[in-house]
Amino acid sequence: MTTVSDIFDTMDYGPAPESAAEAFAWLDTHHRAFGQFIDGGFTPAGAPFDSRNPATGEVLAQIGQASAEDVEAAVTAARKAQPKWARLSGHQRAKYLYALARLVQKHARLFAVLETLDNGKPIRESRDIDIPLVARHFYYHAGMAQLQEAELPDREALGVCGQIVPWNFPLLMLAWKIAPAIAMGNTVVLKPAEYTSLTALLFAEICTEAGLPKGVVNIVTGDGAVGEMIVGHPGIDKIAFTGSTEVGRKIRAATAGTGKALTLELGGKSPYIVFEDADLDSAVEGLVDAIWFNQGQVCCAGSRLIVQEGVAERFYAKLKARMDGLRIGDPLDKCIDVGAVVDPVQLQTIARMVDEGAEGGEVYRAAAPLPETGCYYPPTLITGLHPSSRLMQEEIFGPVLVATTFRTPDEAVSLANNTRYGLAATVWTENVNLALDIAPKLVAGVVWVNATNLFDAAAGFGGVRESGFGREGGWEGLRAYTRPNGKPKPLKPVSAIPAPAKAEVDALDRTAKLYVGGKQARPDGGYSRAIWSPKGKLLGHAGLANRKDVRNAVEAATGAAGWAKTTGHLRAQILYYIGENLSARASEFATRLREMTGATPAQAKEEVEASVSRFFTYAAWADKFDGAAKGVPLRGIALAMNEPVGVIGALCPDEAPLLGLVSCMAPAIAMGNRVVAVASEPFPLAATDFYQVLDTSDVPGGVVNILTGSHAELAPALAGHLGVDAVWSFSSSDISGVIEREAAGNLKRTWVNHGQTTDWPTAEGREFLEAATEVKTVWVPYGE
């Protein structure tokens, strides 16, 4: 027995355990066995698997593996409940969300202890971070429900949402999914991760306490097979997934062509950049919150330290000293920093990756002792690695930090962006000029300046590149759970005019080429197709682009990256100028449209005028699609900056040869994107005429590239191109599925019509601008 007098001399920390009695009592009320939460009640427990405490290996409860019938019943309940739920006023839904927020607060400690028991994260984190953020998310979205009618009159709920959440923040990810979904009038079928279902089941219970109408929230439990059933269920309108990039890719492919909306929040290898003028002690402390938060099992963990060479050794020395002060142990202990890894399988994965990948690096492990049993991995730093090291590229998802050095700000940015991921990034410097210069250059959905892992319901969270797409939180997060009002109609295929029996041919050859990098280019394959008027007149030939032309166009677009850095004012001037030059040739374009499509003179004139107007619209928007400064509960600002997506491939509508091209091109370039536009397949000549307008309008080469040819052939090449950041399709060819499937390669964003019509005369504005931008949230806490 350690005496007071002994401790007085050693001044050691002792055990400070949080009691688990209440959580165990709650489990006992369910006889430690759970069924599925469907249509407002629990089904009998059945087909159980064990849910264990990773810190001890002890079985906490039996969780049910949902059957196909369970999933069916859950979807049916959600489907049945949805119309009535959506018809409630925003205020009525707000009251339910408010009740959920209050109940989370009232049961805060029970949730926190249960989460820690189930997941292994330190009680400090579940108590001080996870659960308060859960409550905050429901409060915030209660407000969104309240404001929905006034602020989002043009959007409506998607329907039934299938939501699959990971084990690292079980209840927090549930909140991020459920709160916005039900706020907007959707109903949900949510599957927690098999390791960590308990807090979701407790949440199900508080849904009952809140009087939530049955069927609005359904929780089904089980492994990936249950997730697959949700993803594949035809009665679900939207899938929201948070988890690994590998599974995200499968979900992208599995939902391709089904018309299901999809948002993915996936992995990361987020850079943590430390400049030499940083407050190094604070930057070291930030790393504790970056990579040793939740044992490093955080998708946005600052796992890749990039430190300026001149201070690297000093920084590493400080970091190692700090690591030695970390306390690792019983997650319920209120005096530990690092708890247990979620499961023995994850522990093995971490250990294997480090054992195999640390070659060439110097491995330093925290000197703190590990408990003898349970899933523990020591906080680890690996220095001396290079971008070519596997551990610098692959997500470890454990308490392992890898480090390299840089010389200049530009090199820091290059190193930071040298990754397939793009979730988060951290920058430490005391120089505001440097911080605000670097933040926009980092390819990431979230950037923290002189801080890390800050989250709030008001600030969008989500990634770019292979970290997924879609945002959670803020106004931008509501896009993932709403769609424009109205019921779209099926789009009829539009065919090219067949060759006439008796051709009328001009003596003078009219050759339309492709337009790549600001120059006319012959199609690589050397094939072209004759374009006939309905009256049998040969209007010219259009090249048949192939995958190599796609490659060349994407290369040209990639090379025109400087366009993204131009000012909105400059882009506006150029867009106005394009409109002016198009207007100057209005009658020529009208004739072209008339001859190609058989439109009446009035119709043709109208399409040209609408196209001119559309350039004016996006010229107007170019310097007005503002970001936002979010009201986050912190002394600081969270800036939501609208950044261009990058290189957008657009398969333009067939039925509106000029207006459709302009409707895709103009918003994209207005926001700073570069475009590879594939012209209307049956009527390509308005687009090929158009490059002369571009040539005379000061559009830099490569910003707009125009291909002609088969949509079905070009769509997979564009969607599969790993250098393309987004693909849009309004084609009348049946290519939405192939685009979504091929997009799984680099998880590029897609916006496809699923065979539905678009009303081109009115199709402009925010919907297009939002598709043309990614919201980057830049957190800048301040204070001197």
Binding site: V4, I7, T10, M11, A16, R127, D281, S282, K334, P781
Partner: protein, 329 residues
Amino acid sequence: MQTDIPTGLAQLPQVHEARNPGLPLDLDWVRAVQANTSAIERRAATLPGRRSVKKAYQAAWLLKAVTLIDLTTLSGDDTPGRVRRLCAKARQPVRQDILDALGMGPITTGAVCVYHEMVPTAVAALHGTGIPVAAVSTGFPAGLSPYHLRVAEIGESVAAGASEIDIVISRRHVLTGNWQALYDEMAEFRAACGPAHVKAILATGELGTLRNVARASLVCMMAGADFIKTSTGKESVNATLPVSLTMIRAIREYFQRTGYRVGYKPAGGISKAKDAVTYLTLLKDELGTRWLQPDLFRFGASSLLGDIERQLEHHVTGHYSASYRHPMG
């Protein structure tokens, strides 16, 4: 060991450690110091949630805190009687029956801290206890009396038997970035202290920014401060965790570069047992356990002891205590 100090004063740093001799003023180092306020505040705000001591550990830590208190009276109405009562409390800060129940031997506070006029009374009252007497000095609290008088005041207090001198720096030197002037002043104060050890009061509540706090801390250490101390207790903002973290990190950096340990004294505003434990965890985590001894750490506090006594009695009896059950100081 350089000492004319009476033996038995275990609280004094130079008994255990080589005394910080100071360094030539290194302005490159001073100007390179950074302190990111929001990050420091976040660390300070989350610390109480990251560390907790319970049961026997809590009792032991609170007893340790008692031994780190500079029991202080700095009032215009101080009298010899008042000071003797305080000194009696310093000798027996915790009721004997509580110490017995905890299995602890005798403890005393770290020091007694008074104005110059009260030094002889305190020295006499503490004779034979080994408890040092600290005197606030140099025109405390504003530090704006004639410079030669401020230097002379130190000598008077040392001559009267004070073995610790709490000096106040000229805030204007910090606020105008006149680091040379601050260095020279501190170095002269240190020299005037002779064998008595010197605590530099930065009056952090008047320095404007944490960056200034960090730089002033460093300059005072370079000029030979044995301790750096937050406040006089008379400013509107006294010791805070962010300020403490900033000063502690400066001490750590100084130790890492020079090998000399400088002590830390937060003063003013620490009145709860729980706060005292938080400060100790801050010290332990940022600087190391070595700093949790009276030669390197003190609380400047007057009402903290009362709260600790009540907590200790609660630990022993399982019942919440009342202030009148503990002898007043």
